[in-house]
Symmetry: C2
Subunit: 338 residues, 2 copies
Amino acid sequence: MVTIYDIAQKTGFSAPTVSKVLNGTGSISEATRQQILSAAREMDYKPNMSARSLITKKSYLIGIIFEDSLMRRGFEHPLFGGVLNVFRQEMEKEGYDLIFLSNTSTNSAQTYLDRCRYRNVDAVVVINPQDKQDEILQIAAAGIPCISTNEIIEGVPLVITQNEQAGYVAGEHFVKNGHKNLGFIAGGASNYSRASTERLAGFRKALKDNGIILEESCVYRCKTWFRDEAKLGMKELLTARPDITGVFVSNDNMAAGAAECCEEMGLSIPNDISIIGFDDETLSSFMNPPLTTFRQDREQIAKTAVQMLLDMLKGNDVEECVRVPSVFVPRKSVKKLN
Amino acid sequence: MVTIYDIAQKTGFSAPTVSKVLNGTGSISEATRQQILSAAREMDYKPNMSARSLITKKSYLIGIIFEDSLMRRGFEHPLFGGVLNVFRQEMEKEGYDLIFLSNTSTNSAQTYLDRCRYRNVDAVVVINPQDKQDEILQIAAAGIPCISTNEIIEGVPLVITQNEQAGYVAGEHFVKNGHKNLGFIAGGASNYSRASTERLAGFRKALKDNGIILEESCVYRCKTWFRDEAKLGMKELLTARPDITGVFVSNDNMAAGAAECCEEMGLSIPNDISIIGFDDETLSSFMNPPLTTFRQDREQIAKTAVQMLLDMLKGNDVEECVRVPSVFVPRKSVKKLN
DNA sequence: CTGAAAGCGCTTACAG
DNA sequence: CTGAAAGCGCTTACAG
């Protein structure tokens, strides 16, 4: 391993001078600059980040909190895998590397903040919803820039889909197609989730604006985001309210569960029941019929998060919350009535 | 930030003694051990990895090479996203953290080896196929333990699916169901890929063992792993060989393309054409009819890779190549003839 | 069993 | 414009 001392020795300058040239700091004569630079190139010098980080307290490391205990889809989750991917690309362009913040540390219970300190990360991104909100607050409180791309955590800047607007569009779409008796199946995590709450609010508002009141008996709140629970929910909903003709389901995976329920009940989609999902998973276009759904804009979410985090890294204040529009993907799971 | 000097000062011992206690090295009296440990706990001491790494040359960091330029599925790839996820969990249990090795470094062209040195990684895992085999060889040549979970790189230990065996099972399945005229659509990357080669070899052998010769006109070799090219390939195959009744396609995504082709040609699956895919993507069970396919065992692949890497980290030799069986998932896309 | 000394590779005041 | 000195937080011989 070649160090700045090797370069100093070879060129006859001192280590600090070499350091300044390599970092572009201080004032250095052009001649020595060139000499040192070419020596560095020739010797194939590579900086040692540990040493640099030790003294500058800057690591060019972004800690990723990716803990998918609630959705259980890992990196394959249609939104979070995509967000992580784009986030990574954009951050690397800026010279930052991504490191996973471990939450399964064997050696004693370590908090996320402990891990941040251990690895000296410059900033943190929280990719998916999870239950350790208190630990994330610790990070923010410690002054480490931190951003969330989904979970709403008071005091942590957030980039998230315009859920309410999407809910409104879903409601409008049903109404436009002549549906009056509608249902809603919400996803959740131990309790009913925020994203679902927002989608429901928009949905309800769209109906209300069209003179339709969404009754409580038409809303089923799941405690998970799993297909099976949605299937069950659909059954309850349709049994309690056989008048329902269309249901907005909180994600495609759950919509698939709802569709399964319909099939078992001998109901045809969209002839008997219309369905709108959320997330535009790959499977959605393969469902029979292809599922009408919404696509969350992972690109935009990730890029916005990167910009904001970069801003925070510079010490600037950023907005508390940026909302990113989703894209409505109409397919064939909603029937036009009359 | 509390350092070992703070602990030394508080307890009256020296920094080296504190260090030894914290690391469990050297011989220390039980009394001082307890004193120092409790002081550390009380002061909420956290080691600084940069400092430790600088001197020990060990970072407890595993570099991930995840560069999905060929499949373009990012973390959502049914195999690689899953492998990374399990690999991460297992590695973290062992006290290692995962860091992405950047390949888009803005500041001058850096090789993966440069990035390894920069970040001081202890070992490297290559998750998906990519074209920078030479750079990966550099890593191995530099003595950094390195393992691949898919790409075959001479000299780099490999954990990979038993592709040939899977191909054999696919061939047998067709034959058992009375198929005699079979086709094969291979996936590839710029050139025809190794995984496909292996699957083809097994497929061909199964047919041969049953007295059937797979002619070259029944094999279509794609240059990508994309759906569209498979769709095109299916068209060519079926046009050139209208006698074909069953096709083995290199992945499910491509199988979906092949199915699309059939639909456009007015051919029904499985009545006119039977199809077997590979990967068991979520979409596969939603296809119409549900696709018969193979599931690669991400869990087993990742866990094996971790064990081997751990072994290499200890300085042990490991096997050159470990093959993991895949699971055959029969569904409804293969017709039983006569 | 414990500690004084040196050093990992680098950067930051500071002096000239 | 350049360099001597000090130090980041830690560990490793080595001596006692």
